[in-house]
Symmetry: C2
Subunit: 215 residues, 2 copies
C-alpha cells in the first residue's frame, strides 16, 4: 500500500532553514550546512546524474529519497523563487534540465500552470486545490510505490498537522544555525501517534526514523 513519507535535514537547534532566507539565499544563512552530509553520497550523486560518491550509512539514507518513491510533492518555495503568478513560465526549478526526482512532482501553488515535462522522468504538475488533492493525485500516480514529501518545512508541517504522513525521517546535523525556520513548531499533538523505529548515526549526522505506532 502506498505510504506518504516525509524527510528533512535539521540543525541540532531545530532549524530546517537558516535566518534571513531570501530569493537569492533560499536556505537562509548557513543553511547549506544542513545538506552537506548527503552531497558526497553515491545516491545523491546518482540522483543528479553523477557517478562515484561514498557508500555506507549516510548513503543508505540518502537512497530513500528515490528508492521505492513513485511520486513527489513539494511546496512552491522549494520549486523556485517566483511569487505570485508564473510570468513567462520559463522557470523550471533549480535543478537544470534533468531534476533529481525522476518521478511526477506535484508542486503546491495558488497559481495554475500547465505541466512541465523535464528530462529523466520528472514532470512538474501544479496543484492549486490543496494538500489533500495533491496527495490524492500523487497516490494515484505512485502505483505500488510511495509518495515523498520533499519539502520545504511548511509543506511538511501541513501534512504532519493533517495527520497524513505515514513515515518521516529527520536527519539531525550538529550545525547550530541560531535562527531561521523551525520544523517542530505549532504542531500541537499531531505527532502523538508516532514512534521512533530507527536511530543511527555517522560522525556527521544522526538519522531518526518514525512511523505510526503499530504499523
Amino acid at each position: 500500500m502506498t505510504k506518504l513519507r516525509f524527510t528533512i535535514s535539521m540543525a541540532l537547534d531545530g532549524y530546517v532553514a537558516g535566518p534571513d532566507q531570501s530569493l537569492e539565499d533560499p536556505l537562509g544563512t548557513g543553511g547549506e550546512a544542513l545538506h552537506e552530509w548527503a552531497i558526497g553520497t553515491r545516491s545523491f550523486r546518482a540522483m543528479h546524474g553523477d557517478e562515484g560518491g561514498e557508500a555506507g550509512l549516510d548513503d543508505e539514507h540518502a537512497a530513500r529519497w528515490n528508492r521505492g518513491i513513485g511520486t513527489t510533492i513539494m511546496g512552491r518555495n522549494m520549486f523556485g523563487p517566483i511569487r505570485g503568478d508564473w510570468g513567462d513560465e520559463t522557470w523550471n526549478g533549480w535543478w537544470g534540465d534533468e531534476p533529481p526526482y525522476h518521478t511526477p512532482v506535484y508542486v503546491l501553488t495558488h497559481h495554475a500552470r500547465e505541466p512541465v515535462e523535464m528530462q529523466g522522468g520528472t514532470t512538474f504538475h501544479f496543484v492549486t486545490d490543496g494538500i489533500e488533492s495533491a496527495l490524492e493525485r500523487a497516490t494515484r500516480d505512485a502505483g505500488e510505490h510511495d509518495v515523498l514529501v520533499a519539502g520545504g518545512a511548511s509543506v511538511g508541517q501541513q501534512y504532519l498537522r493533517a495527520g497524513l504522513v505515514d513515515e518521516f525521517e529527520i536527519h539531525v546535523v550538529p550545525t547550530l544555525l541560531g535562527g531561521g525556520t523551525r520544523l517542530f513548531d505549532d504542531l500541537g499533538d499531531a505527532l502523538v501517534g508516532y514512534e521512533c523505529t530507527e536511530l543511527v548515526s555517522s560522525p556527521v549526522v544522526a538519522h531518526y526514523t518514525y512511523a505510526r505506532r503499530g504499523c
Copy 2:
C-alpha cells in the same frame, strides 16, 4: 585548566522538559522519557550507590557526569520545588541522604541559606550573587577538575549566553514532547564560536559534543 561543562538531555523536537511542569511534576508531561537512556547504565547506577547496570556507549557518556568533575552548579528548581524563602530548611534535594553528585554543589538562588553537608561527598552551597560568582567559587574548589552545570535548562542557557561554557553535550532522544521548555531559545549568537567534536549514537540516544572552536 578547569573547564566549565554543561550537559543535558533533549527531545528531538527541542524540549528539555515537557509541557505543564509543576511542583509535583518537575520534568513536565512525558519528561521522564528524556532520561531513560541513562538510568540503566553502570555509571548512573554507581552515582546513585547501586551496583550493576549496562556498560557500552551510553554508559561512557553517562560517566561524564562524574568523571573529572570537581564541583557542580545547578539552578534552584533542579534542587527542589520550594519557591521563595527556605522555610524550615528541611528540604535537602530530591536525592535522599546521599545525592549522586559526590562534589560540592553550588545552588543558584535568591535566598540565602547555610551550606548543607550530605553523605557521599555532596555539600550544597547556596549562592545568591549570580552565575559568575557561583562559577568563581566552583572553579576555585574544583582544583584540577572541571565544573559541571547540571541544569536545568534556564541555568544552562544563562551560562551559554554569558559565553562561559567551554564544552557542552546534548543527548538527543527520539521522544517527541510536543511542548515544554526549549533549550535552544533566545540564545542569539552565543553558540557561534563552538564546533561539534563528536557525534555518536546508540539505538536510543545520539550524543552531540561541542567545544570552543580551536580548543
